[in-house]
């Protein structure tokens, strides 16, 4: 569904992506794990058109992806950004409706709004509240709901569990699976490698702008290198 080949991108003067290749199949959850500064967010932002890439190609459903953010959303890819970036000065409902900005099918928008409220009943309760008054977890729900309102085929989730209480982290990962069951494809960037790997179907490990490992998520979770670097487990039988 999404084919990224040999992507080079610069962040300021830093060569943040050095020939990254990633492939996402329809209906899967694919996760990208890696340390701070590995290039995970830059990769998502390159797909979303926020960061320009100098070399390489991105194909979506067999066609090259446009480079302007709004055209990319129109093609069916939406990003739920790191730090949520909700519109704190607008109501919860306004935030959700802005997610559907490019759509004009009133019936479909209504249906998707109900779906989002089903997924996050809390948002329905707070529909008329200013989004800035929500708790961190609720803001993350709103950010995900807002993304879903564009009725995307592929959702890019950037660190959805960052800064949330453990119980909220559980909720968010449960919702990610629910979203997959709605028929959406998900590209998930996470620092919580254990959670990400146990939720995803396949995974890529980024280090300093390069893919250093990839495979089925279930295999990576048992990989000694991954265990040591990201899961905090000291592997003794390696030596």
């Amino acid at each position: 569904m999404l084919e990224i080949k040999n992507l080079h991108a610069y962040y300021g003067g830093i060569h943040a992506l050095k020939g990254v290749g990633i492939s996402v199949s329809e209906g899967e959850i694919v996760t990208i794990i890696g340390a701070n500064g590995a290039g995970k967010s830059t990769l998502l932002n390159a797909v979303s058109g926020i960061v320009r890439y100098r070399e390489g190609s991105i194909f979506f459903k067999g066609k090259p992806l446009p480079r302007l953010p709004h055209l990319i959303v129109k093609r069916g890819i939406v990003q739920v950004p790191e730090g949520r970036l909700i519109f704190a000065n607008l109501t919860v409902k306004d935030n959700l409706m802005l997610g559907a900005y490019l759509r004009s099918d009133k019936e479909g928008i209504k249906r998707d709004l109900e779906k989002v409220y089903e997924l996050f009943p809390r948002l329905k309760e707070r529909e008329k509240q200013m989004a800035g008054t929500l708790s961190g977890g609720e803001q993350q729900m709103l950010a995900i709901g807002r993304g879903l309102m564009s009725n995307p085929e592929l959702i890019l989730l950037d660190e959805p569990s960052l800064g949330l209480a453990p119980i909220m982290v559980e909720t968010i990962f449960r919702v990610i699976k629910d979203i997959k069951n709605l028929g959406k494809t998900i590209l998930l960037v996470e620092q919580n490698a254990y959670k990400a790997l146990s939720t995803a179907d396949s995974a890529y490990m980024l280090e300093q702008g390069r893919v250093v490992k990839s495979g089925r998520a279930a295999d990576l979770i048992n990989d000694p290198g991954v265990k040591e670097s990201y899961l905090g487990v000291k592997v003794n039988n390696r030596s």
């Binding site: 000065n89 800035g132 961190g136 803001q139």
Partner: protein, 292 residues
């Protein structure tokens, strides 16, 4: 007592025109975070457009009025495309935008001096000069029209910003351009819309101002008043800009009426400094906190 009411009404009338100027200025600030000094140039051109439409082309007042608004809108859009868009494309620092804005402002002013000339011009009498009486208070017809036109325009603007999809997109882009782009909002066309709206309002404000006083190339200096009003209310906040404008208008007429008109600008600018020192966020500056 009557005299105070009289001054208050004058203050509202002049304040409402300041508001027309300040909202356009404030809208641009809310999205681009820089002071659009070229706004004054657009106000001045609006005054000239209206003047020539009426005197040279003999247009009826309302046609000239709307026509001046539309022409000013086109000028504002042109300034955005030529002076700011190339900077945005390169992610230039905000200081560059300010400098570019000053350049555009000086260009417009000197262009007018070079082509039309530096002389003062007076609008022909459009509304009858004799004031009408409202329970013992005399209200000039022009002042009344200024207030009504401004009020209708401001209400229309608030409706547009609060109740339409594009208006919501403007608010979202003002809050966070990147998040807006990620939601599929074409931020470039939002910026163009904001310049167009601000330009139209600046143009009609220019006509009203030209009718009240005179038309000359430096009339754009008046934009500094919209800056004071916008700072007063809280930069980037529309209700703030409107309230700030009315306060400024009333303070100015009170100072002119009760102290001395020469002190008017002195006191306006002292207020600006006091606000910047003691309440830099203004009356209604962005107070919503983002917990993220």
């Amino acid at each position: 007592m009557n005299q105070i009411l009289q001054q208050l009404i004058n203050g509202f009338s002049i304040g409402s025109v300041y508001a027309l100027m300040a909202v356009g200025y404030s809208l641009v600030y809310s999205i681009m975070n820089f002071s659009n000094f070229a706004h004054g140039g657009v106000i001045m051109l609006g005054a000239y457009f209206g003047f020539f439409f009426i005197t040279l082309f003999k247009m009826p007042f309302w046609v000239a009025f709307i026509g001046a608004g539309i022409c000013s809108m086109l000028v504002a859009v042109l300034v955005e495309r030529m002076a700011y868009k190339p900077l945005r494309a390169r992610n230039a620092p905000f200081l560059y935008f300010m400098i570019s804005a000053m350049g555009a402002s000086m260009f417009i002013e000197n262009f007018v001096i070079a082509t039309i000339g530096p002389t003062f011009r007076t609008y022909p009498q459009i509304f009858p000069a004799e004031p009408f009486s409202l329970g013992g208070i005399y209200v000039g017809r022009l002042d009344m029209m200024m207030f009504l036109i401004s009020a209708v325009s401001l209400i229309a603007l608030v409706y547009f910003i609060e109740c339409t999809k594009l208006g919501k997109a403007i608010q979202a882009t003002a809050f966070n351009p990147r998040a807006s782009a990620l939601m599929g909002i074409n931020t470039d066309s939002v910026i163009l819309t904001v310049f167009g709206l601000g330009g139209f309002l600046a143009g009609i404000a220019g006509v009203l101002f030209g009718m009240k006083y005179t038309v000359y190339p430096q009339i754009g200096f008046i934009t500094i008043k919209s800056f004071i009003a916008a700072v007063f209310g809280g930069l980037g906040s529309l209700p703030g800009a409107v309230i700030g404008s009315f306060i400024l208008g009333i303070v100015e007429t009170m100072v002119s009426g009760y102290i001395m008109s020469q002190y008017r600008d002195l006191i306006s600018f002292s207020l600006l400094i006091l606000i910047l020192v003691f309440k830099p966020m203004g009356l209604m500056g962005k107070s919503v906190e983002d917990k993220a």
